[in-house]
Amino acid sequence: MKLFLKGLVAAGLSLCASLSAAETIVVASTTSTDQSGLFAHLLPAFEKASGVKVKVVALGSGQALDVGRRGDADAVFVHDQIAEEKFVADGFGVARVPVMYNDFVLIGPATDPARAAGRDIVAGLAAVYSAKADFVSRGDKSGTHAAELRLWKQAGLDPASEKAKWYRDTGSGMGPALNTAAAMNAYVLSDRATWLAFKNRQNLKIIVEGDSKLFNQYGVMLVNPKKHAHIKAQPAQRFIDWLVSGEGQAVIASFRINGEQLFFPNARK
């Protein structure tokens, strides 16, 4: 009962705090940035610097852009350059600002039955294809899914359209896809940040990494206030400016899991 009352008071206080906060913006972002812990590391510094509170909704890049398109977020922070450029070209975003990058990694069984290991992702995928080894696809129009389809195309292969039995289109987020791959002992393409933060690895490990084709760029866009009048353009722009500022970039670079840096700032100055 005492616990319950304590909770009630805490909830009441947090409600008051959120009411009195000067400004709150909504940022639609991806699971890789949120679940890896980057936002938990980043936002306190920004909130301290600006007094602006940021609410993060973590979705796949495709869905996050859609939330922006409907005017349900003030800014969108994702990793699917082609879709982002379309978002801006269609007038839904003001401008696409590159912020940072990390990379994708091909994850697979430690025994590597398809013998896909190496530094060449195209050769690795071709090996998975010819071995008909189980492969888990996101299949959810996320940035990682788009990258995976691009890489298959570069390999000249198309297991998705062929409906190959070993190619499992799971229609799920990065974490659930990794859980599925862990249970099936299958190959899966992941962003490095989610993989590093992921705990249920079973017998999986990194099979292919370090190929320049696995480069994964993140960009941020202000949702166009001309399309949606209620967009909080000023504080949202402040968030974007801070991300690419010296301070923001330094905070991004300082985020580490087990000593390993997850995101590499590369905003153009």
């Binding site: 909770g7 993060v56 909704v57 005017g71 705990k199 249920n200």
Partner: protein, 234 residues
Amino acid sequence: MSLLVDSAAEAIRMVASADGKLLEIAVLSLRVSATATLIAAIIALPIAAWVAQTRSALKTPVVVVLNACMGLPPVIVGLVVYLLLSRSGPLGALGWLFTPSGMIFAQTVLITPIIAALARQTLEDAQIEYRDLFASLGLSRWQSLVTLLVETRFSLLVVLLAGFGRAIAEVGAVMMVGGNIAGETRVMTTAIALETSKGELALALALGMVLLAIVLVVNGFAHWGKMWIGRRYG
């Protein structure tokens, strides 16, 4: 097996240490689902009473539709409420998307049919039992109905608990409408989904145990309240 033991230990540790974040999430779960149950009861009980006593030709179709709506998939309710509350949707001006208000809205839509359908059946069954008595007392239809509501109050309490249970256990609607924002709209079920997707299976399971414990405590309070009223007012 060791996962279960680890999770149970983790669940006990979280509750015992009165983890601040956990409390906040648990309180939000309770607040959202209890409010939704209250609003749903206010909407559903009059509907149930009307359908139970009506002789209108509409009765059969309404009963069938109500019963069918007990099977509304939460994710569909979530999607529809999301589209309604979106800034591009008809109720966008409310600014309820990604807020607890939006989550209460979605859960209310989800459980109103459940409460209405179960309460309707409860009232109708009681009506058959009491029909002769009411006739001999010369009660009007509406007087009988009020008496029935009072007489079946304990069964109706269980109906409300069923609605509450459905609300606090669902994840599809609150995930979509609330957005699982840390410190804002994260409830027990969306936190469990999040930890599962991070591969933190023991933590996810521990949160599940805490959720079950909360539901158990709520039901315990309801039962204790019922006994107390029973003793006091016969």
